[in-house]
């Protein structure tokens, strides 16, 4: 199997079938160390199955998976691997009558590491929740505890399955900060998400997954540039007229005093030119509005679907 040597994770032609149902239909990607890689897609797109195959919970029907050069579907490789990876599953249930402190201590013992409990707890914002029973913690707090279990042994690769599903804004900020910190510490991270904002802000590279297939791949900026469509500048200006240099910037439409320019690429440059020209004409611009294409536009263009109907509270 050919892959770049530095790739922490290499997935090639991964197929997973459950009976006749194809959950994953030929997914390939590589993840370099020191990057955050996102699998973005709707629920049921095959993200979780892909991630669970990478961590050895699911056996691929065909295709190859290598994590740190090891094959998680092989028993011996899996045993070597589980010390070196950290995982936060989508639904992690921890014993309800256990205290956060006890779980962290026990997991540290599983990995044979000594941990600074207050430091670990502080990193996930649970410093004053260490003596709370899991059953009395909120969903978001349990998720953050599960996150701590994914990194307390300083793994080389971290997998996070829908890590912020059901989290409040505070939890998300903490998780995003910690994920970024892990990336900066040289870990390779894979996360699945159906939150556009999360993918756009957090991920260095994104695979858009739809119906078990990778339908687009790239940095968020590249995906937006390629699929996001035109930026749109809307304004109204009484007495505004076009000149050839402006006309060349993109597609203009206007109705009475309302002008709209659809521009591909550098919207800032176009905006500057419009303002400069308005100044030359001594025309006042009102209601100026710039809409840059974002990842959501790109996602809709790529998949023909929106993620809107999936509310942040959906845990599954």
């Amino acid at each position: 199997m050919e892959k770049p040597l530095s790739a922490a994770i290499a997935v090639r032609d991964l197929v997973k079938k459950y009976g006749d149902v194809e959950a994953v239909g030929g997914v390939s990607f590589e993840v370099e160390t020191g990057t955050i890689f996102g699998l973005l897609g709707r629920n049921g797109a095959g993200k979780t199955t892909t991630l669970e195959t990478c961590v050895g919970l699911t056996r691929p029907t065909s295709g190859e998976v290598r994590v740190l050069g090891l094959d998680p579907s092989r028993r011996r490789d899996f045993q070597a691997l589980r010390k070196r990876i950290g995982v936060q599953l989508q639904t992690t249930s921890l014993p309800e009558k256990a205290k956060a402190r006890e779980i962290l201590q026990l997991y540290a013992a599983y990995y044979g590491v000594r941990v600074d409990l207050p430091e670990i707890a502080a990193r996930v914002g649970l410093e004053d929740k260490l003596d709370r029973l899991v059953g009395t913690m909120s969903g978001g707090e349990q998720q953050r505890l599960a996150l701590a279990l994914a990194f307390l042994h300083d793994p080389e690769v971290v997998f996070l399955d829908e890590p912020t599903a059901g989290m409040d804004a505070f939890g998300r900020r903490i998780l995003w900060g910690e994920v970024t910190r892990l990336r900066d510490a040289g870990k390779a991270l894979v996360l699945t998400t159906h939150y556009i904002e999360e993918a756009e802000r957090l991920c260095d590279e994104i695979c858009v997954v739809q119906a078990g297939k990778v339908v687009a791949r790239g940095t968020p900026a590249a995906l937006v540039a390629q699929y996001g469509g035109d930026a749109c500048i809307d304004f109204s200006a009484r007495g505004f007229t076009l000149i050839p240099e402006l006309d060349r910037l993109g597609r203009w439409t206007h109705q009475a005093e309302s002008w709209a320019l659809a521009v591909h690429g550098d919207a800032g440059h176009a905006l500057g030119a419009i303002v400069a020209h308005a100044n030359t004409l001594s025309v006042a611009i009102d209601e100026l509005d710039l809409h840059r294409p974002n990842l959501e536009d790109a996602f809709i263009a790529i998949t023909g679907e929106s993620l809107d109907d999936e509310k942040p509270s959906a845990a599954a």
Binding site: T58, K83, V87, L89, L94, A109
Partner: protein, 247 residues
């Protein structure tokens, strides 16, 4: 931390999480057996509660061994799996055997406490005397525990959902206790039925426990039954090892 230290820590955690902090568990594992011993001793004993209690102490202890295996291991594993707790542990380097051993150790420690409590209630309330060799009694108890832990683990290995595991375990535990010489003598059944019931590992174990602990029967008398229980244990362990799934 050495593996043994991890085993100790996990066993302690099991105790804390599933026993000390679970009032229902304390009630079912300590309150109910004592209640059964008291009620049945008075009810069956009429004017000789000591004879009845002498029969019942090993019977109720034996029934607890059954329920430790079926509930404590079988239903527990199915619950762990359905709650997705097993798969999380599977992703850590914790050796499989440590996870099992800690669960078994927790239940065996609890079982020892249950047996001690029932023996004390028998001795102080009803004047029951234990004439057997303590080592032989311990041997029979451990053999029975091994048998029913491994039978229970088959349920935990094969049954997928908590609900069906609970149903199977209820159906097994309650009638078995009544049919295995635990709460009342199966001699009172028609002879042929009694002979058939003596083929049950639960009957063999409870009869052996009672005879060795209370009536001073020598262990050597039960070589065949001991071998049968060993075969059950090996067979059941092999089946659960073959079919056990973490996810």
């Amino acid at each position: 931390m050495s593996t043994l230290a991890v085993l100790g820590a996990q066993t302690r955690a099991n105790f804390t999480w599933y026993f000390w902090r679970d009032g229902e568990m304390i009630f079912w594992s300590l309150g109910i057996p004592v209640f059964f011993l008291l009620v049945f001793s008075f009810a069956l004993g009429a004017n000789n509660t000591r004879t009845a209690s002498t029969f019942l102490v090993p019977g109720v202890i034996g029934a607890q061994v059954l329920s430790s295996g079926f509930w404590g291991i079988g239903a527990m594993l199915a619950t762990f799996r359905e709650k997705k707790l097993l798969r999380r542990v599977y992703l850590t380097p914790l050796p499989t055997w440590v996870f099992f051993a800690a669960l078994v150790l927790y239940r065996m420690t609890l079982l020892a406490a249950q047996a001690l409590l029932l023996a004390l209630v028998g001795a102080f309330v009803f004047g029951v005397r234990f004439t057997g060799n303590p080592f032989e009694i311990a041997f029979v108890l451990i053999l029975g525990a091994a048998t029913f832990v491994s039978l229970g683990s088959v349920i935990g290995a094969v049954v997928r959902s908590t609900e069906s595991a609970n149903n199977i375990v209820s159906v097994l535990t309650v009638p078995l206790a009544f049919l295995s010489d635990a709460y009342f003598p199966i001699d009172r059944f028609p002879k042929h039925i009694g002979q058939i019931l003596r083929l049950l590992p639960s009957t063999q174990f409870i009869d052996m426990l009672r005879d060795v602990a209370m009536y001073g029967a020598p262990l050597t008398h039960y070589t065949v039954w001991i071998l049968i229980l060993v075969v059950w244990t090996i067979g059941a362990t092999a089946i659960s090892a073959r079919f056990f799934r973490w996810v």
